[in-house]
């Protein structure tokens, strides 16, 4: 499962990456986690509010740190 976190490097973006990483580790789901910080690339996904989350090329979340429940749902979908 390929997860990208879109964001220009603010505190919320870092928190999002850390949270996804932590939940994936505890559930034993293997993911590739990547951050996209270049504005041009972020805009390419059509996201207006950061942090945004892209899973396998599809935007699943934008604006704010996603909730734990939400992340667990995404990861459950992959397993």
């Amino acid at each position: 499962m390929d997860i990208k976190v879109l964001g220009t490097g603010c505190a919320n973006c870092k928190a999002t990456i850390a949270l996804i990483d932590q939940i994936a580790k505890t559930r034993g789901v293997s993911i590739t986690l990547e951050k996209v910080e270049e504005l041009r690339d972020i805009m390419g996904y059509g996201v207006m509010s950061t942090p945004g989350v892209v899973i396998d090329g599809k935007v699943v979340h934008a604006g704010g740190v996603p909730s734990r429940d939400k992340i667990q749902q995404w990861l459950a979908g992959a397993a």
Partner: protein, 345 residues
């Protein structure tokens, strides 16, 4: 019992909101008597300076935090109606003038984080929102927000809060309008202008009330969780000043008579970067020591609305000339606000 309390917001959001409102009101009513009772128990004379300061602190801290929690919660729910996507769809293709007013007003209710400013900016321009209208939104969103207004209301009264809102909106509307008249589209970075135009659509899946309540909780966690230390410091300063520092300490150099105090406040405020809660302790201290209200509000506005880190990020999408115009126009607006305020009050 505790399980019921935990699941109630999900199962019956209406009942939860009603119970929460009643509980909040009762708590709010009980604050003043509770603070007085608490001071009486402590081994200090309630009539002394220390007693007065303690009572002020013990009453104001929970009062401000309660007000802030309630308003941030409600705004979190309101925000869920105004996503950036919907705001953009409302503004796209409109002509300037009325749209500047709309954009500035929507800036109050649309959720906004300063790190999203640039993506939001590009997204607006890309969908055909006029440049000046986009700026009206970009100026008002961080400056006129519920945290700033609640704190001003709780600490300095509704008149100051309302004035701040009215003047903040005016600066955003007029500055955006002027930037629009200057026709500066050529000073967007080339890659921004060359981006494919998108059609503004808003995803209109309505949220259930329970989800909006969740959104309210989330913003309380995020906002109140972040700003409470600043508020504590602000109130502690207020309590500490209560009677100790000479009231006119600042009056000589930040009072109404010193004409140069407003430009100085703006000049110091512009490069500083802080959110509304972070400046409140400074505002509290300045006001208590006799600085003029207009000067202090001008300082607060310039700290929140303009900052050096924001300019650095904006530089990626705007050419220098447009950034300079943006800073110049907004700073002049704030300057004017400071002078008008000091003259009227």
């Amino acid at each position: 019992m505790s399980e019921l309390a935990l699941t109630l917001p999900r199962r019956n959001p209406r009942a939860f909101l009603l119970l929460a409102a009643i509980g909040w009101l009762l708590l709010y009513q009980a604050l003043l008597p509770a603070a007085k009772a608490l001071v009486r128990v402590l081994p200090v004379d309630p009539a002394s300076h220390l007693g007065g300061a303690l009572e002020f602190f013990l009453y104001d801290t929970p009062k401000v935090l309660l007000l802030l929690t309630a308003i941030v919660f409600v705004m979190g729910m309101v925000n869920s109606y105004f996503t950036p996507e919907r705001t953009r769809a409302l503004l796209a293709g409109r002509t300037e003038g009325v749209a500047n007013v709309m954009a500035a007003s929507l800036g109050i209710v649309t959720p906004f984080c300063s790190c999203s400013a640039v993506p939001l900016f590009i997204g607006f321009v890309q969908a055909g929102v006029p440049l000046g209208v986009t700026f009206s939104f970009l100026i008002s969103a961080p400056m006129v927000n519920e945290v700033a207004l609640t704190l001003l209301f709780a600490m300095f009264g509704w008149k100051v809060a309302l004035l701040y809102m009215g003047l903040g909106l005016s600066v955003a509307i007029v500055a955006g309008w002027i930037i629009g008249r200057l026709k500066m589209e050529a000073y967007l970075e080339d890659w921004v202008r060359d981006m494919p135009r998108v059609h503004a659509t808003a995803d209109d899946t309505p949220l259930a009330l329970a989800e909006r309540v969740d959104a309210g909780f989330a913003s309380v966690r995020e906002i109140v969780g972040k700003v409470w230390p600043y508020i504590l410091v602000g109130i502690a300063i207020g309590a500490g000043i209560h009677g100790w520092v000479p009231e006119d300490f600042m009056a000589s150099f930040m009072g109404r008579q010193a004409w140069w105090s407003v430009p100085l406040a703006v000049l110091i405020g512009v490069p500083m970067y802080s959110n509304a809660a972070g400046v409140i302790p400074i505002v509290q201290a300045l006001l208590a020591k006799g600085a003029a209200l207009g000067t202090v509000l001008a300082f607060m506005m310039s700290v929140i609305a303009l900052s050096l880190p924001e300019m650095v990020i904006l530089r990626k999408v705007l050419k220098l000339r447009l950034i300079a115009t943006f800073v110049g126009v907004v700073a002049s607006g704030i300057l004017l606000v400071g002078y008008v305020f000091n003259a009227v009050l």
